[in-house]
């Protein structure tokens, strides 16, 4: 039998993955209506990482994400309504419609700022950890980034400084093997992202990013270490795959961006399906329960959609406010 705390955690992870999946699938459905006027970078297929890592976080921990941020923000506690309204450019959005899909932010939830400049969130996350250390908090700073961000020099500057100052940072690389249409191997001589930390004395870890349990367990261990002592950061490489195009609701293999069999293989390695099978086998879930969970989520999505649609656009005056803080 699976222990209770773990059972609860895995079930919550399952629900969270499903929330991310259904929310983004709804975006796929809604997008052609051209009311969501912001570029969406979907994380369908990669949900286990957001859900598995964030299951270990509290509200006061920080999460820094990137252009592909819906999953991380939902997993860190953002409401679907705040997110959906933001995508619709409405004043009820988490950024009052000023940020859009790539810049979701909610400081109350520890989502301080989201950058769409590849790699730029890394030093910002490290800086937040520096603040935690200077203020002697027990919280941690988690940064999600892609294999593309590893190309940037600032990735190394961030690891170096975090290791040097022993900062509580969990670096989580979502290696989906592509940065837009560039294969990892067209950009990096070796497929060894997790090892790149070792030159700074940071132990690097690699896991199957589509196996929610593996992600959760490993993240849990690393996060516990981070909280327990100030021995410095960790790097976790999660291997995964995105099902949709780099940006937008469609798939991209037709245009020759990647081979169909590769995509098919990863689709059959669905992180949600995988955990679902396990949870059913261990008796934690039943088809009936799943149906109810899905219904609940779908209602949540409908509500978010309804609110987003009926919300107002920001007023014209909003254009020039917030350039400076409390002017």
């Amino acid at each position: 039998m699976i222990e209770r705390i773990r059972a609860v955690a895995l079930t919550q992870i399952y629900v969270m993955m499903l929330r991310i999946r259904l929310f983004e699938e709804r975006l796929v459905y809604l997008y052609p209506a051209q009311e969501i006027k912001t570029p969406v970078h979907l994380s369908i297929g990669q949900e286990a990482i957001a859900a598995g890592v964030c299951q270990n976080l509290t509200k006061s921990d920080y999460v820094f994400t990137n252009h592909r941020c819906h999953g991380h923000c939902l997993a860190k506690g953002m409401s679907m309504s705040a997110m959906m309204a933001e995508l619709y450019g409405k004043n009820t959005g988490c950024c009052k419609g000023k940020g859009g899909s790539m810049h979701l932010s909610d400081p109350q939830l520890g989502i301080l700022a989201t950058s769409a400049i590849v790699g730029a969130n890394l030093p910002i996350a490290v800086g937040a950890a520096l603040s935690l250390k200077l203020r002697e908090r027990k919280n941690i700073s988690v940064v999600f980034f892609g294999d593309g961000a590893v190309d940037q020099g600032v990735f190394f500057e961030s690891l170096n400084f975090a290791a040097l100052k022993k900062l509580p940072v969990l670096f989580v690389c979502e290696n989906n093997f592509y940065a837009t249409n560039s294969l990892q191997k067209a950009r990096q001589p070796l497929d060894n992202i997790f090892k790149r930390a070792e030159i700074f004395g940071i132990k690097g870890w690699r896991c199957a990013g589509n196996d929610a349990q593996e992600v959760y367990d490993l993240a849990k261990r690393l996060i516990q270490k981070l909280r327990a002592n100030s021995s410095g950061p960790h790097l976790l490489e999660c291997r995964t795959y995105r099902w949709k195009a780099h940006v937008g609701p469609d798939c991209d293999f037709q245009s020759g961006c990647r081979p169909k069999p590769e995509l098919d293989a990863w689709i059959s390695n669905c992180p949600i399906k995988k955990l679902e099978i396990f949870l059913i086998k261990t008796g934690l879930l039943t088809q009936d329960k799943i149906r109810k969970i899905r219904q609940r989520i779908n209602r949540e999505i409908m509500r978010a959609e309804f609110l987003a649609k009926k919300s107002r656009f920001p007023s014209a005056g909003e254009l020039t406010t917030d350039v400076y803080w409390k002017e």
């Binding site: 006027k37 419609g97 000023k98 859009g100 899909s101 190309d151 950009r187 961006c257």
Partner: protein, 350 residues
């Protein structure tokens, strides 16, 4: 040298009659760019193109599409490491190549200011003129569809300040081809700025190679009443505005600057001498933007001819909002130019 034989197109007048299809051959801006790349690669083995996605199925919005098939060693994808990439390009240029570095968004250039400003722009001078950096950096300005603050910046003003570099911004397919070829032929670093919204616009483009001179503006439309100086996409807005102003009996002269550094002061001054009224329409923020800079730059030469204060059409001083509604009020266009013209007329009547 492969580039000395090319003819410079100085017959700017051609454009005054832009409705006439002069060569019977129409290309879009994107196709014109692609053709210029192709011809440069063909003409000169020192030319190469690098950047994210230059060899992918989208080919940088079509502008480099398929080029890698013929020139596979010289058209290649890169890691996402803009600062390093710019250094690689500078080094290759120093060592005899003529690199073209492509950025899908101008915003990413901010990662490369050290290599552009501390290096590319200065190495010729620092070496006492012994070396040079023949480098083209293509930067595409994004706009709309909630691109938001980090994917939509028009940062040309920043480059105007830097000795040692040139800044060009073609507004038509004809100029896109001719200026790109000129930029590649140029022995200095050139920031080549394209606006994404120009990509589908067509123009008459000759099949042969030709050079459009860097630093020369162009009168796109003659007029005696008011001068509208514009760049890039704003040239189109200015032309639309001019058509509408004509209905009110105002003949606007529309100048496409085409380059911001060097700046064609003469073409502006000559026009203002005639019209006494000036609007400058830019793509960037108002404060310290290209328009204010141009005004500060030529002020002493036009002061005595001005019948009224100069009007600037530019972005409000705020990061780009994402919401479609805010975007709409954020970006100025033909209507703003018309309003600016009217403000000038009101003032000159008193």
């Amino acid at each position: 040298m492969p580039w000395t034989k090319l003819a410079v197109d100085s017959a700017s007048k051609r454009f005054l009659d832009s409705k006439k299809n002069l060569c019977g051959r129409v290309l879009s801006y994107r196709e014109a760019l692609r053709e210029a790349h192709y011809q440069a690669l063909k003409r000169d083995a020192r030319v190469f193109i690098m950047g994210q996605g230059v060899d992918d199925p989208a080919g940088v919005f079509g502008s480099t599409l398929g080029l890698h098939q013929e020139f596979c060693a010289r058209v290649f994808d890169t890691p996402i490491a803009e600062n390093g990439l710019t250094g690689f390009a500078v080094g290759a240029a120093l060592a005899g190549m003529r690199p073209i570095l492509v950025h899908m968004r101008m915003d990413f250039l901010l990662l490369t200011f050290d290599q552009i400003i501390n290096h590319a722009s200065k190495l010729c001078y620092m070496s006492g003129g012994r070396i040079h950096v023949p480098l083209v950096i293509r930067a595409i300005i994004g706009r709309g569809w909630g691109s938001a603050a980090q994917h939509s910046q028009a940062l040309q003003a920043l480059f105007m300040h830097i000795p040692g570099i040139k800044v060009v911004l073609p507004a038509s397919a004809y100029d896109a081809k001719g200026l790109l070829l000129s930029s590649i032929a140029d022995d200095n670093p050139v920031i080549f700025i394209e606006h994404r919204w120009l990509y589908d616009i067509q123009d008459s483009v000759p099949a042969n190679e030709y050079l459009v001179p860097i630093g020369k503006g162009l009168i796109k439309r003659g007029g005696k009443d008011i001068t509208v100086v514009a760049i890039s996409l704003m040239v189109n807005e200015a032309l639309i505005a001019a058509t509408k102003l004509k209905q009110n009996g105002i003949e606007a002269e529309v100048i496409d600057l085409r380059s911001l550094r060097p700046l064609d002061q003469e073409i502006i001054v000559n026009s203002v001498k005639k019209t006494g009224r000036l609007i400058i329409a830019d793509l960037g923020w108002r404060t310290a933007g290209a328009a204010q800079i141009i005004l500060g730059n030529i002020h002493h030469k036009i002061r005595r001819y001005l019948k009224a204060g100069v009007e600037i059409v530019a972005l409000p001083d705020t990061p780009t909002p994402s919401s479609a509604y805010l975007e709409k009020i954020f970006y100025p266009g033909a209507a703003d130019i018309i309003r600016a013209a009217k403000r000038i007329y009101v003032r000159t009547k008193h």
